[in-house]
């Protein structure tokens, strides 16, 4: 009996210790998200009338050409930025994985540097650097007498550039950590039986880092889709990314149910990727145990 009560005490202690963050999680994430989802499919409640199910709010959203173009724009920026991130970060991570030189040390610091630059400062800095009559423009004018510089400021390319900038450290960090798990001898064994560098990369390295790869892909997609600061400060007035659109709907137009619908639509679109992320992490931990 003594051991049983001791076991129950331990269980109780366990649940008591994890309760506070769990309550916050439920109250601040699951409850608002859940009730937003429910409310977007309910008819407006009036006195004496029971609420019914309706998809009106979504029809309204898709009937609005501005809303539609904002949604497509967001998806487009997300896909392009994620693709660019891999193009930039894969060579960097491979280099950092295989080089121990002093140059690699500096490259690593540079690549991780944006981790310590908040979005607002980044936006401000990029406006001064790449904006009209910014540093790059001035440099080209003075040194090369070149006046054709086209600023990405207030253009989609500005958003994409800044989002890539912002997500480089996380991508490099995760990819490099994943690549470090692949031992030298595993790669050498493949070289030894005759595989070329490219083939080693695609047939040995890529499958072995599948999980970190998927995680970084998912988090980048969701992060970029849900970004606000950078598109808000650097992006064009139209089309807008969903974050900016939601903020405007909520704060400027005071249309809370409209903002809610937009938020739930973002959830839906990202849910596939979110599920993939959770599944990837779960599978990994399951295997570990």
């Amino acid at each position: 009996m003594a051991t049983r009560s001791r076991y129950l005490n331990t269980l109780f202690a366990g649940y008591a210790l994890i309760a506070p963050p769990l309550i916050i999680l439920v109250l601040l994430i699951f409850y608002p998200a859940g009730q937003a989802i429910v409310r977007t499919v309910m008819t407006d409640q009036e006195v004496g009338i029971t609420a019914g199910l309706t998809l009106d709010r979504y029809f309204n959203f898709f009937a609005d050409p501005i809303a539609r173009s904002n949604l497509w724009f967001t998806i487009w920026v997300t896909v392009v930025t994620t693709a660019l991130l891999f193009l930039v970060c894969f060579p960097l991570s491979l280099y950092l994985r295989f080089s121990n030189s002093r140059i690699a040390g500096i490259v690593q610091v540079l690549a991780l540097f944006p981790l310590f630059v908040p979005g607002v400062i980044l936006a401000f800095a990029l406006i001064r650097y790449l904006g009209p009559r910014g540093t790059v423009d001035t440099f080209l004018r003075i040194v090369f007498n070149y006046t054709g510089f086209v600023t990405p400021y207030l253009k989609p390319s500005g958003i994409i550039f800044a989002l890539v900038w912002d997500h480089i450290p996380f991508t490099v960090l995760v990819l490099t950590a994943g690549l470090r798990q692949v031992e030298d001898s595993v790669i050498e064994a493949a070289r030894d039986v005759g595989a070329s560098g490219l083939r080693v990369f695609f047939q040995i390295v890529l499958p072995l880092i599948q999980r970190p790869l998927l995680i970084v892909f998912c988090l980048n997609m969701i992060g970029i889709f849900g970004s606000f600061t950078i598109p808000y400060l650097l992006g064009p007035a139209a089309p807008q990314m969903m974050g900016v659109y939601m903020q405007q709907t909520f704060t400027d137009y005071l249309d809370r149910s409209g903002a809610e619908t937009q938020a739930v639509l973002s959830f839906l679109i990202c849910s596939v990727i979110g599920a993939l992320y959770v599944r990837t992490v779960t599978r990994r931990r399951g295997e570990r145990a």
Binding site: Y31, P32, S99, F124, R128, R133, T229, M242, C270, R284
Partner: protein, 289 residues
């Protein structure tokens, strides 16, 4: 068999170091990456730095036409800034402390106590990452609006707390899990009490990871602008939120530059610690990698 002592080829040397041709090609990429990252990442930061110390910068000129600190005095004397700076610091400290109090015991429980549903509950915190961030804020804001929390300090604290959950639970949990239990058992074996073992054996081992989690939480909260913007306005203005208006209204460039540098200061501190824990997988463990 003929013994021909002629070397097959000569290894190239650089700065007196023998470099294999493979290394040479790799480091050529390293240098390219170094230059590119310097232009892309350090360039914008340098521009901000120059602006902060520019008394006057008449275009077109590569460098400020007149240097000085007068904008620092001017910026620091502004009412909005003198109230936002303590607000930002206090808020970041409060949120970090609250998060630690709520999450660290939970992390210990997740790592050490084997209660039913442990894996699933731990994974539920991934939800923070699985939703597009700004959509989540909008749904929270709708709830807060009804509760009258918009524009209040508790509202901002709560929304920033959401951001910290995953970092504050996952990094310490994996640190507690990675402890070599034999070390604790050895201490118990020589007669140390449970508390002494916790403080003298367990805590020192997880300290680097805990420090990393606390620092990351503090800096990310200090920089958090989106949640504070949508919930805090108009009552609560942090430094990061202030930057939005400074950028959008384009008052005086130097104001923004000075605020940027001030905001960036905590990062400099973090950066000096960063090299240590970024090399390992501490940070990525906070994302489920």
């Amino acid at each position: 068999m003929k013994i021909d002592p002629t070397p097959a080829y000569r290894q190239p040397t650089i700065f007196g170091y023998r470099i294999s041709t493979r290394t040479l090609r790799r480091e050529a990429f390293g240098i390219f990456a170094l230059v590119a990252l310097t232009l892309i990442i350090i360039g914008p930061m340098m521009t901000v730095f120059l602006w902060a110390f520019a008394e006057r910068w008449r275009q077109p000129a590569l460098l400020p036409t007149e240097w000085g600190l007068s904008y620092w005095y001017e910026t620091l004397a502004r009412n909005d800034i003198t109230s936002a700076m303590p607000m930002s610091l206090g808020l970041a400290l409060t949120v970090t402390a609250l998060s630690a109090i709520i999450c660290l015991p939970a992390a210990y429980a997740f790592a050490r106590i084997n209660f039913p549903g442990r894996q699933g509950l731990l994974l539920s915190f991934l939800a923070v990452n699985a939703f597009p961030r700004f959509g989540l804020y909008v749904t929270i804001a709708v709830v807060f609006f009804r509760l009258g929390l918009v524009g209040t300090l508790p509202g901002v604290i709560l929304i920033q707390l959401v951001n910290t959950l995953l970092t504050m639970i996952w990094i310490p949990t994996s640190a507690f899990q990675n402890i070599d239990r034999a070390l604790e058992e050895a201490a118990l074996d020589v007669g140390a009490g449970r508390l002494r073992v916790f403080f003298q054996i367990t805590l020192p081992q997880v300290f680097p990871a805990l420090a990393a989690a606390l620092l990351l939480t503090f800096v990310s909260t200090f920089y958090e602008a989106q949640g504070a913007l949508i919930i805090g306005i108009p009552g609560i203005r942090t430094m990061a939120v202030l930057m939005y208006s400074y950028i959008n209204n384009q008052i005086v460039v130097q104001y923004g530059a000075v605020i940027s540098l001030m905001l960036w200061l905590p990062s400099l501190v973090l950066l000096s610690f960063a090299q240590k824990f970024l090399r390992g997988n501490t940070v990525s463990s906070g994302f489920g990698v």
